[in-house]
């Protein structure tokens, strides 16, 4: 009988002084492909990293690879967060830096990055091109890494992983930020490499998984249990089930202009690359919009114009909250009226802020809290903290929490000032379907009091009920604008 590929026995692991696993056992036999589940904070990521040899644990953790296989004999882990470095080996980039043009380029192109990866791993570049093609990624090869959106960074990680096709591939939330088509294509690619001898361990909240995934393991109280798809535990709700704090159940403060947003022939280009083309878009107070488009269609850039994050704002003709952009307003006056969450905001958020500070920082639109909010805002922060069920994490640093919990804290931060405009760019990344549903119910509640909404989400089944209109981008153009729900 062949040896198990992964043999774990009596594995112990602590994460920031908290016991994650105690005497965990797990055996993975050849040809098995697993889904690894568990509620937020159960240790999925820690276990994945341990298998890939990226963390120190005690106990037995043996890997046995097939010497006859042509696939690389290693366990390769694809993190749920992307990380990249500049040519000097630094990774200290800052929020929305990709929009600030600086002549001295110290960041590699996507192609150079792939070439150096391929060289280090002894891979054929032609194969990378085939995979890139399958993920509709070829056009991005000449781009600088700093210019990529979160979905595009995710795809780069996946191109590398599928290209390497090691004997054991561990994917942690690989679908985050991918559009529907890309998810399907990724599944096809994973099925292909699985046939050729790559075993998969997948961590995901999504429903549509590669067909080859046939086993489900769940971490419960620090131990592995094999379960069926139906038996998976649900996360606790995205909020506590308590009533929405009363200060959020009123109309947002601030005068209502005729238009929240009015764009007239807006164009953004970097050198030869046109990212937005002749955008005309009007958003009236109280409207609930869905913004859609494939990865790279220009959604994030469009939103960055609205949030005051794009320097080319000053060369374009548009109005925010009734004021012409670039007519002497500060970006902080704009941000004051917007509640924003996006993958970038999460990625660059201050990891050394506590959960409470992170939520309170929503009053000031800062990454981390730099001032004393005063009694009223403190009380409101406490209420929102409680509503989102984050009481016990109040004084915990963001960096010590799993991504799902961090995300809940940032969602609380997004709504705390009851803003005129809510911009929710894939707000529920890292949450499961039930948590998503609960958050969307809150969005419905908030928007019933006059909040204007722009929501970015790839899945029709996971949207708030209040959405009335849809704008679809394709390659920087407005492909269509439609009303999907007549407002009452």
């Amino acid at each position: 009988m062949s040896q198990p590929v992964v043999h774990i026995s009596k594995l112990n692991l602590k994460y920031h002084h908290t016991v994650v696993f105690q005497d965990l056992d797990w055996v993975i036999q050849p040809n098995q492909n697993w889904l690894l589940c568990g509620t937020s904070g159960s240790g999925k990521t820690s276990l994945a990293k341990a298998i890939a040899g990226l963390s120190n644990t005690d106990g037995t953790l043996d890997l046995h690879f097939d010497p006859a296989s042509t696939r690389p004999a290693l366990a390769y882990y694809v993190a749920n967060w992307y990380q990249f470095k500049d040519l000097e080996g630094q990774s200290n980039f800052y929020y929305q830096q990709r929009y600030n043009s600086q002549a001295e380029q110290t960041v590699a192109t996507v192609q150079a990055e792939l070439e150096s990866f391929g060289k280090a791993q002894g891979l054929q570049f032609i194969e990378a091109l085939r995979i890139a093609e399958a993920l509709a990624y070829t056009e991005l090869l000449p781009s600088s890494m700093i210019e990529l959106s979160s979905g595009e960074h995710k795809k780069l990680q996946l191109v590398k992983a599928v290209w390497l096709a090691p004997q054991l591939l561990i994917l942690d939330q690989p679908y985050n930020g991918l559009d529907t088509l890309s998810r399907k294509r990724l599944n096809t690619l994973l099925e292909e490499i699985s046939v050729k001898g790559t075993q998969l361990i997948l961590i995901s909240n999504d429903a549509e998984l590669p067909a080859v995934i046939d086993r489900v393991a769940e971490i419960r109280e620090g131990k592995i249990q094999e379960v069926t798809f139906e038996q998976r535990s649900r996360n606790e709700m995205a909020h506590s089930g308590k009533a929405v704090p009363s200060f959020l159940k009123t109309a947002p403060a601030g005068t209502a202009p005729e238009h929240i947003i009015k764009m007239i022939d807006v164009n953004i280009r970097y050198g030869e690359k046109q990212v937005l083309k002749d955008i005309n878009w009007e958003v009236k107070p109280g409207e609930k919009w869905l913004l859609q488009g494939h990865n790279g269609s220009g959604k994030s850039t469009l939103l960055s114009l609205i949030c005051g994050d794009h320097p080319q704002a000053y060369a374009n003709n548009y109005y925010l909250f009734g004021n012409k952009r670039g007519s002497g307003e500060s970006i902080w006056e704009i941000k004051q009226r917007i509640g924003l969450i996006s993958p970038e905001l999460h990625w660059y958020f201050d990891p050394t802020a506590t959960v409470w500070q992170s939520i309170a920082s929503g009053f000031y639109d800062s990454s981390g809290l730099f001032c004393d909010p005063g009694a009223t805002k403190k009380a409101q922060t406490d209420q929102v903290l409680d509503y989102f069920g984050l009481q016990e994490y109040k004084n915990v640093l963001m960096t010590e929490l799993p991504l799902g919990k961090q995300r809940l804290a940032l969602l609380a931060r997004t709504v705390i000032k009851n803003p005129q405009l809510l911009i929710l760019d894939e707000p529920c990344q890292g949450l499961d379907q039930q948590q998503t549903q609960h958050f969307n119910q809150l969005v419905d509640e908030l928007s019933s009091h006059g909040t204007t909404l722009i929501y970015v989400g790839h899945f029709e089944s996971q949207l708030p009920a209040c959405i009335e209109k849809r704008i679809l981008l394709e390659n920087g153009w407005v492909k269509s604008v439609e009303t999907i729900l007549e407002s009452a």
């Binding site: 800052y94 600030n100 600086q102 002549a103 320097p311 002497g328 201050d350 050394t352 730099f370």
Partner: protein
């Protein structure tokens, strides 16, 4: 032009050296109003020029860039930086005459040429802003009497100025108004508004003078910030090689050690840094840093004396006139040192190991910080200014060494700082030759605590702690860090 400082009577020299006020946040309640609707024209679009301009514009101010004709026609980096971010760009002739405020963010060396070029074009009653006072104080630039002259100097690299602003914060900033050029009395209000525009008001602002800024800035960068970090790095590395420590390990211990050690300094001052050592190691580090202070004090005093008398700037400007002959030769020599040429080894060094195995470097940092601070204060510079130019900036410079060693440090700092750094380094190494002969690997390269039982004499330890904790740099440091952390609470959480 003659040295401005030297034209002043002693009374006025002392007066200007002593301008130093850590400003209360209530001083900035007027926001950017003093500059609202005014036309700001930035000269130069490098890292400081571009990033300050991006912040000022995002704060609702009107910003354009004036570049030399050659930079525009040649589509140089400065032109690309400004145009690709959608700023109006024009020549001096096109933009300066319309400017209410001209912000000079070119390198020190170009200041005389730049100011001579823009001054005749500036309109009556406009403002000229600097981010360093060398041109005014050392070169004695005479600015037209109707013009207001201010300084706004963020104490961080340009990219940090932008990054912190976008986080909703800012970087500590020093502002000043030149007393010879404040005809309408509007200088301070404009400097404060500028500071709000770059976000600096949220991170602590020191109201200083051109004289105090220059004399303390030069002293800090020549001695503790760059000079001593360079000397200490090279001597530490060479000693480890001499004692048979693995070269890759030695290289890594020094390159990243300065950053890890000074990170403790940033959070808790010299006390915090020394407390990272075991008790026996702390006593040892104290003893050798006292010895280092004795040996190096005359050199620190010479640097301060030459800065005050103008001798330093005179010799450096002579080198400018000679086409940077010395600077370039010294830069090349630094690139050839063994430390610089040995890549950091692929070996894991734990955070605490950087303290335990590099006691000598901890001693260097304590000696350098305290000496620089003491020497500045003795020369009439106020403790607040001396703190900023010594302890506060040390971790920022150490960070550049961690990135790419001394090459990177000397690339990032100004040519003026680099020149002074080499002067110090070349004088300091021979001065320490005898001392270094007495150093063994237990002070650098190996764990000092190894083979010791950790016991100390209570009275010795108490006496050592007392000296470290009551040093004036610790007293003022505790006050300033508190004021900064009140606003930036998370950074010390």
């Amino acid at each position: 032009m003659s040295n401005y400082f030297n034209t002043l009577p002693l009374r006025e020299q002392l007066n200007q050296l002593g301008v130093c006020d850590f400003m209360d946040s209530s001083e900035f309640l007027d926001g950017v109003n003093a500059l609202k609707g005014k036309k700001l024209v930035v000269v130069g679009c490098g890292a400081q020029g571009l990033n300050q301009g991006l912040n000022l514009r995002d704060s609702g101010l009107n910003v354009a860039y004036a570049l030399r004709k050659e930079a525009i026609e040649g589509k140089r980096d400065s032109w690309k930086n400004a145009t690709e971010n959608n700023f109006t760009v024009g020549t001096y002739e096109e933009l300066i005459p319309t400017a209410d405020v001209v912000i000079n963010l070119t390198p020190d060396k170009q200041h005389t040429a730049v100011v001579n070029a823009v001054m005749p074009l500036m309109k009556q009653g406009a403002t000229l802003s600097y981010s360093h006072g060398f041109n005014i104080v050392e070169e004695g630039m005479q600015v037209r009497k109707d013009l207001t002259v201010i300084m706004v100097a963020p104490k961080c690299p340009g990219s940090e100025v932008r990054a912190e602003y976008l986080r909703g914060f800012g970087v500590p900033t020093l502002i000043a108004v030149h007393p010879e050029n404040d005809p309408e009395g509007k200088g301070l209000a404009q400097a404060k508004a500028y500071c709000v525009g770059t976000g600096g008001h949220k991170a602590g602002v020191l109201n200083s003078s051109f004289v105090a800024e220059v004399k303390s800035d030069l002293m800090g960068e020549q001695t503790i910030l760059c000079g001593l970090l360079q000397t200490g790095s090279i001597l530490s590395f060479d000693k480890m090689i001499e004692k048979g420590i693995d070269a890759g390990y030695a290289s890594k211990l020094v390159q990243y050690g300065v950053e890890v050690i000074t990170e403790a300094l940033k959070h808790g001052g010299v006390t915090g840094m020394m407390d990272r050592l075991s008790n026996p190691a702390k006593i040892k580090a104290f003893e050798i840093s006292e010895e280092l202070k004795n040996i190096m004090r005359p050199l620190f005093e010479k640097h301060q004396d030459d800065i005050m008398s103008g001798e330093f700037s005179r010799t450096m400007m002579a080198d400018w006139a000679a086409g940077d002959k010395n600077l370039l030769a010294w830069r090349a020599a630094t690139g050839e040192t063994a430390f610089e040429k040995t890549p950091a080894g692929n070996v894991k060094i734990g955070e605490q190991e950087y303290f335990d195995n590099a006691l000598l470097m901890v001693a260097f940092v304590r000696a350098g910080v305290e000496l620089a601070f003491e020497t500045m204060v003795e020369a009439g510079i106020k403790p607040e200014s001396a703190y900023y130019e010594s302890l506060h900036e040390t971790p920022l410079i150490a960070n550049t060494i961690a990135r790419k060693k001394l090459f990177e440090m000397n690339r990032v700092i100004s040519d003026t700082a680099e020149y002074g750094c080499y002067l110090f380094d070349h004088a300091c190494k021979p001065l320490l030759a005898d001392f270094m002969r007495s150093v063994d690997a237990d002070l650098i390269g190996k764990n000092y605590n190894e083979g010791k039982d950790g016991s100390v004499d209570n009275r010795t330890l108490i006496a050592v702690n007392e000296v470290i904790r009551t040093h004036p740099v610790e007293v003022i440091g505790a006050k300033l860090r508190k004021a900064m952390t009140a606003m930036k609470s998370i950074k010390t959480a």
